[in-house]
């Protein structure tokens, strides 16, 4: 494998830079995916049938904690990549672990929220609005959960093999994914929760 020393490690081989570009293209496909889910949500947003509306359902407290956790985790994954560029394996692992822990916290709160909703009688089957809400939040949550497993897998590889062109590449791509989930969450936070609470 030809390694180009003038580039950062994660871009250093042709395969690596292709992978990063390919992942950008994949994120390009994630945009229409979430855009479609948002569209469905906006179409459904006033179709409550006999179920509750957003303002009756949402509570700002847990949502703010979720937002705080996810946004901070985006910062720590940035720090992890920064540490990676400097070759600090230990710092990188610590920041990645922090990222994943915050991700886990996010998922926990979201699951708790879902249980609360269901407990209040707001289920997937209740109304068009709730179906679209659960599927939009659920898709994002499933991405975070998948990201958690993926990130954990990359940490194991980092721990075993250190910062190599291959592991650096994987960690960098993972960070792109994680930032993307953050961006989606900002949209969910603004247009689902804040708008719903108004």
């Amino acid at each position: 494998m030809k390694i180009d020393a003038s580039k950062p490690l994660e871009y250093s081989t042709e395969e690596n830079s292709n992978k990063i570009f390919g992942f950008w293209v994949f994120l390009g496909a994630e945009i229409p995916l979430f855009a479609t889910l948002f569209t469905v949500y906006f179409v459904m947003v006033n179709r409550f049938a006999s179920g509750p509306s957003g303002s009756e359902l949402f509570e700002i407290g847990p949502v703010l904690i979720e937002t705080f956790l996810l946004l901070s985790s985006s910062f720590t994954i940035g720090l992890a990549i920064h540490a990676m560029r400097h070759g600090y394996k230990k710092a990188m692992m610590v920041f990645m672990a922090l990222t994943l822990l915050m991700g886990l916290g996010f998922i926990g709160i979201e699951i708790d929220e879902f249980f609360t909703y269901v407990h209040e009688g707001a289920t997937l089957q209740t109304s068009g609005f709730l179906s679209s809400l659960f599927v939009l939040l659920g898709t994002h949550g499933a991405h975070v959960s998948f990201g958690f497993l993926w990130g954990a897998g990359i940490m194991i590889q980092l721990w075993r093999h250190g910062i190599t062109p291959a592991t650096a590449n994987k960690a960098f791509i993972f960070s792109l994914f994680w930032h993307f989930l953050d961006v989606v969450w900002i949209f969910i936070f603004s247009f689902v929760y804040l708008k719903g609470l108004m």
């Binding site: 830079s17 390919g22 469905v40 089957q125 068009g128 590889q157």
Partner: protein
Amino acid sequence: MDLDKFKVHGEPLIYGAMVSIALATIGILVGLTYFKKWGYLWREWLTTVDHKKIGVMYILAALLMLFRGGVDAMMMRLQTAAPEMKFLDAQHYNEVFTTHGLIMILFMAMPFIIGLMNVIIPLQIGARDVAFPRLNAVSFWLFFMGAMLLNISFVIGGSPDAGWSAYFPLASLEFSPTVGNNYYSLALQISGIGTLITGVNFIVTILKMRAPGMKLMKMPMFTWSVLITNVIIVFAFPVLTVALALMMFDRLFGSQFFTMANGGMDMLWANLFWVWGHPEVYIVILPAFGIYSEIIATFSKKNLYGYTSMVFSMLIISLLSFLVWAHHFYTMGQGAMVNSFFSITTMAIAVPTGVKIFNWLFTLRKGRITFTTPMLYTLAFIPIFTIGGVTGVMLAMASADYQYHNTMFLVAHFHYVLIPGAVFAVIAGFHYWFPKVFGFRLNERLGKHSFWWIVISFNVTFFPLFFLGLMGMTRRTYTYSEESGFGPLNMLSFVGAVGLAIGFLLLVYNIYWSTRYMPRDTTSDPWDGRTLEWATHSPMPIYNFAIVPTVQTRDALWSAKQDNIPLYDDTKITKIHMPSNTGKPFILGVIFFILGFALVFSLWIPAILSGIGVIVMLAFMSFDRDHGYYISAEEVIATEKKLKRGEIV
């Protein structure tokens, strides 16, 4: 567990299908064991990551599906050949037209095109493989397993029966209580993920792995068309992913997306479906335009006329393809303003398409034309497709569409677009590139026979449908009365369908005959080609090009031949890095198949287990540290020597 839902109750035809599927499966298993081919199958095909082999498997699967979809078509034409036919009942007819549409578009046309892409694109841009060879194998196996999942629906549980567009509320659990539409949502989902991955893979391949000197505007037209197509795939398929997921939630978990009560909205499905569905049409047609452009330039011995306008018209078509979806349901009540908008965007597509037609005509002008089989298909395509296009503009007029909507006129129109636009193209491409992959040509005489059968019978089959539509025959009616007067034209159409079947059988016979008797093509360039795929040996070695060619002009090989520009520096053979084979994509596909099947029948425990299986498999793939192997320079030189002597390696 209720075993009854696995059974399909029906007619002798379905039992016949069950028996033939069982016999064919046993036959294949016994054959593989008897000829001791299991190891060969596993090593050379199931685990391959070679783009050429994956492409060949795509095309084989597509041919198989062409047969399946063709049998569906024959059954429909037979059922409607005369008034009050008793061949199929209404339910069976519903299932047959649904699977015919699904299979022909998603499991025949698209994989055939993706197969040609796989074989040709890396060669055309002078690359050793696609950007992500293993992911390419994942794509194929997901497509294949999706296709198999849809096909077993016929004998286990029942096929989808709400039309290929599966409009709600008809496709809901309430009105389609069989598992048919569960199959629909899961089979399409699985193969759709495969297609999306293909899209990402080829965008990266084309943008990042072209031979040195091949600027974007020097790419062959087929490569351009494939690049644009894959951009459409990446933007359109996620919409299908969402639509199918919501359908699955509605049917399996009782959500309220497309229901008629509790705030659901049935039209949401129609919109989501066609936001994907219309670009899908261009996903199968744009690469066809690329194939035709290559063939016309090659067999007219001229540069393609209006290269730049060709590229721009494809870009415009790809953009417009996302802005026309509502023309599929003008009559479903979205109002005059919306209809006018979509009417205008739809008609606008005729402009760039017309530009392309004229470019092809001007390429032919004063060309030294040779009438080979691929060229015949291309020449037939131009007028037939124009009929399809013109009737398309007729349908695009919203007010007039109230007359044609859901009649046989529409059926005739889209067959006039898709058969010359996609099917003729893949057959032409198949004949054109066959010698590249297998090292011998298909027989021209048989090829021309099947061409004439197909092209004449096609018109006999579908031209009467225009008139039937105007007479008021609606699509998807399984029978009609004698007084309606639809009988004679339907009979004519059936006769045409028989002719089409003969044409396709001749095509298959040609493959068999040519494999046995055609002499080996020793030139590697049997058509006097213009683009890089003809610059390497045929069949090509696993590494495609011993030395990556350097490109200076469009139609690089043609200029190299005309002006004696060297494509390679022969002395610079170095070791070549290749990806190693892996069985993981195949296993992942199998797990996806089990997951899909379990979800179709709401078998939750197997579904959860196979879902975990998918994650575990992905982890295995991530932890894989096999970074491929090298072919040494000496080995490459030895292989090249053998190939030059005409030996097969």
